[in-house]
């Protein structure tokens, strides 16, 4: 019964890798927007710094979405870090304040009663703040002295895509709430977006927030579903399948802080130093940095597979689960009707050249901070 399956799958995979891993080097002026649930020198911050320090990239702005923390916390983190690295020229936009269907914080206890404790809580583990200048506790890097732009993140995304048709790459490295609103509010931008990179989903592995769902998509399942079902020209996904197989350790930290000091390496020393001093074997994931890495250097991706992708929005134990439809005996990419109506075919990162990845990562973290936009 399964006789033909392996051969067909292998040829499909081989074709996919050949086609997809073909390098499309970032041109000299790649315009990007980072839509992130920014933390303090977390993976979102590293992804931001990677883009800031890439000569090929023009960073149009940072849009803030609640996820790892509430929008107010994330805004403070983004502003303050841009300030510390001397890039106050990069605008920061606050967007939505809660997931599409509203915060589930008030009844999260009820969800956990039925579906077990949530491993990664993000913002739900903290109280809301009234302002980015009045958080529940003083940020370790201090409050920013600069302010976010007045424009809403959603409108900024729409305006930017229209201003630079076919040129803007979106990094959706938090929950997809802002992007979902942008494509529903202004669907005319969809064909004008160059491509979208997501960090999110657990495609072939258990999730990290619940056994079913990865955090970003668990935090706002409806938004993830809207975004992923949008017929963008090209969508890349960095799921936990790859992201939680790679570890940032003292080895990488040492390489960064042994370089000549810059505002970025100073942050590493200040914020990661005590941790490695306390526990040299400490290690952590670098999720979002993978998305920026394969954008900046597509040849790093050693395995990109194609999937039709969807998110379960049934409010139950599988809420936010990613579903990746691969080719099988009764589903062929040649006939899109074999896949759920409305889903899109996306490229999913499953393997990366780790040594070259860390070289790029450390290179970008240790360069002198690019001083202005180009």
């Amino acid at each position: 019964m399964h006789r033909l399956l392996p051969a067909r799958l292998f040829s499909t995979l081989a074709l996919a890798v050949t086609l997809l891993a073909a390098p499309t080097p970032a041109a000299a002026s790649e315009r990007v927007i980072v839509d992130a649930d920014m933390g303090v020198l977390n993976d979102d911050a590293v992804a931001l710094f990677m883009l800031v320090n890439s000569p090929a990239v023009e960073l149009l702005g940072v849009t803030i979405v609640p996820g790892n923390s509430w929008a107010e916390h994330c805004t403070a983190s983004a502003l303050r870090q841009l300030e510390l690295i001397g890039r106050t020229d990069i605008p920061v936009f606050m967007g939505v304040r809660e997931p599409l269907m509203g915060s589930r914080q008030p009844w999260l206890e009820a969800e956990e009663l039925l579906w077990g404790r949530t491993e990664v809580l993000g913002a739900y583990g903290r109280p809301r703040a009234t302002s980015y200048l009045a958080l529940d506790r003083e940020p370790v890097i201090g409050y920013p002295t600069i302010a976010p732009s007045a424009e809403n993140a959603v409108d900024f995304i729409v305006r930017s895509v229209k201003a630079y048709p076919n040129e803007v790459t979106l990094f959706v490295i938090g929950p997809a709430t802002n992007v979902a609103l942008a494509v529903r509010k202004n669907p005319e931008i969809v064909p004008l977006v160059k491509r979208v990179y997501y960090m999110g989903g657990s495609v072939d592995v258990p999730g990290n927030s619940t056994p079913a769902a990865e955090f970003n998509w668990w935090f706002d399942p409806e938004a993830a579903r809207i975004a992923l079902r949008t017929p963008f020209r090209e969508q890349f996904i960095v799921p936990t399948d790859i992201a939680e197989r790679m570890f940032y350790t003292k080895t990488e930290y040492d390489r960064i802080v042994s370089a000549p000091e810059t505002p970025i390496t100073r942050l590493f020393r200040q914020l990661h130093g005590p941790r490695f001093e306390r526990e040299p074997r400490s290690r952590s994931f670098i999720w979002d940095a993978l998305a920026t890495a394969i954008f900046l250097k597509p040849s790093l991706a050693t395995q990109l597979v194609e999937r039709y992708i969807d998110v379960d929005v049934t409010y139950g134990p599988n809420y936010g689960r990613s579903i990746g439809y691969h080719e099988s005996r009764r589903r062929s990419f040649a006939t899109p009707n074999d896949f759920p109506a409305g889903t899109q075919k996306v490229k999913v990162l499953m393997a990366i050249d780790q040594s070259k990845f860390w070289d790029l990562y450390i290179d970008l973290m240790t360069r002198p901070v690019r001083s202005t936009r180009q």
């Binding site: 009820a110 039925l114 409010y315």
Partner: protein, 370 residues
């Protein structure tokens, strides 16, 4: 219809003709055979409606299954037996049925409330009087000396429906769990029964359900939505529903209680003792179902509808769903609906004075059963 039934029926007719009157045998034959499935709050509608059915000289109650709902099944069975004992119906066999809903649970209900708001009524899960399902607190009516039969309520139901093919009215005054179990074990009972008559569901009434503002979340159905889906999708020959909409038009008020207090019948005395005058009035949820079964002319308005239940685990879990696809006087069009939908006759309105008269008369009877 089996040959045996036809033969007996024919013999009965001949006997009547020959004797020029109703022989005891013919009378027994004419009585409606009913199997009761009830939940068992110690007092109130579960007990009084069951009593009403037992009081009728036109009914032969084949047995009673007690299912968890208003009370846990062990407590409910004890309540039922004690009521039978006090009212002279101790010879009716009672079996304990399903102890827990198929999927619904106290935890699910608690989580639902955190998300959508508090229920006003949760039966055996009501926090004010909660006890563990294995515990049987002393009933307000006292301890019974009677015992349930040694057969599960679902099996007892199957046994009795199979014993009289085509003749048994299954009357359900509680949740459907035992019925669903019986249907799982023996799917043919739906078509072997004469009909399904029940109190449950709610349609267009803003009150009386187990949510303050939503009468579509009727308790019996909400307690076990999945069992309701199973039972309401089975191929019964006929389904009659007494919904919340009509329940809230009735009450066991002081006028009725005063009339009952004048009777010395054990049934009337039971009500008088546990529902004294001046102690508030409750809706007569299940009693309407029984009395309308005994005399369909009590119902002044009813309608045929496709009726079922929402089993998706969201805000609407356990709510009645229905399709009004019937123009009066025209045949129903089942082709417009997926095959699991069933048409039910839904009662909307009743002749209230006649209802209360019948009720008092029935409860005042001293020697009901043969």
């Amino acid at each position: 219809m089996t040959h045996r039934t036809v033969l007996l029926g024919t013999l009965a007719v001949i006997a009547t003709l020959l004797t020029g009157g109703i022989s005891p045998a013919a009378q027994a034959q004419a009585r409606k055979r009913v199997f009761i499935d009830q939940d068992g709050a110690a007092l109130g509608t579960d007990m009084i409606s069951t009593l009403a059915m037992l009081q009728s000289p036109d009914v032969e109650v084949l047995g009673i299954t007690v299912t968890a709902g208003d009370a846990w099944v062990k407590a409910g069975t004890a309540h039922m037996l004690r009521m039978l004992e006090l009212t002279g119906h101790g010879d009716v066999p009672v079996a304990a049925g399903a102890a827990f809903p198929l999927i619904n649970s106290r935890d699910l209900a608690t989580a639902w409330e955190a998300q959508y708001g508090e229920f006003s009524y949760k039966g055996a899960w009501n926090p004010s009087r909660y006890h563990e399902p294995t515990v049987v607190p002393t009933p307000p009516t006292g301890e019974t000396t009677l015992k349930p039969i040694d057969l599960h309520g679902a099996l007892f139901m199957i046994q009795q429906i199979r014993k009289y093919p085509g003749e048994v009215t299954l009357w359900v005054g509680g949740p459907f769990t035992s019925v669903a179990l019986a249907l799982g074990l023996d799917p043919e009972i739906a078509s072997l029964a004469k009909e399904l008559v029940l109190m449950g569901a709610g349609f267009n009434v803003d009150g009386g359900g187990n949510h303050r503002i939503n009468g579509r979340r009727e308790f019996n159905w909400w307690w076990d939505p999945e069992a309701t889906r199973i039972a309401m999708s089975a191929p019964w020959k006929r389904i009659v529903i007494t919904p919340v909409d009509i329940s809230v038009k009735t009450s066991l008020g002081d006028d009725v209680k005063r009339r009952l207090a004048a009777s010395s019948s054990p049934a009337a005395q039971f009500i008088t003792r546990y529902h004294p005058v001046g102690q508030g009035a409750g809706y007569m949820w299940d009693e309407i179902s029984v009395l309308a079964f005994l005399d369909p002319s009590l119902i002044t308005r009813q309608q045929q509808l496709f009726v079922n239940i929402d089993i998706s685990h969201g805000a609407g879990y356990g709510q009645t769903i229905f399709v009004e696809d019937v123009v009066p006087g025209t045949p129903i069009r089942p082709r417009t609906m997926p095959s699991w939908w069933r048409v039910a006759t839904v009662q909307w309105d009743l002749n209230l004075p006649k209802f209360y008269d019948h009720f008092v008369e029935l409860m005042s009877r001293t020697r009901a059963r043969q």
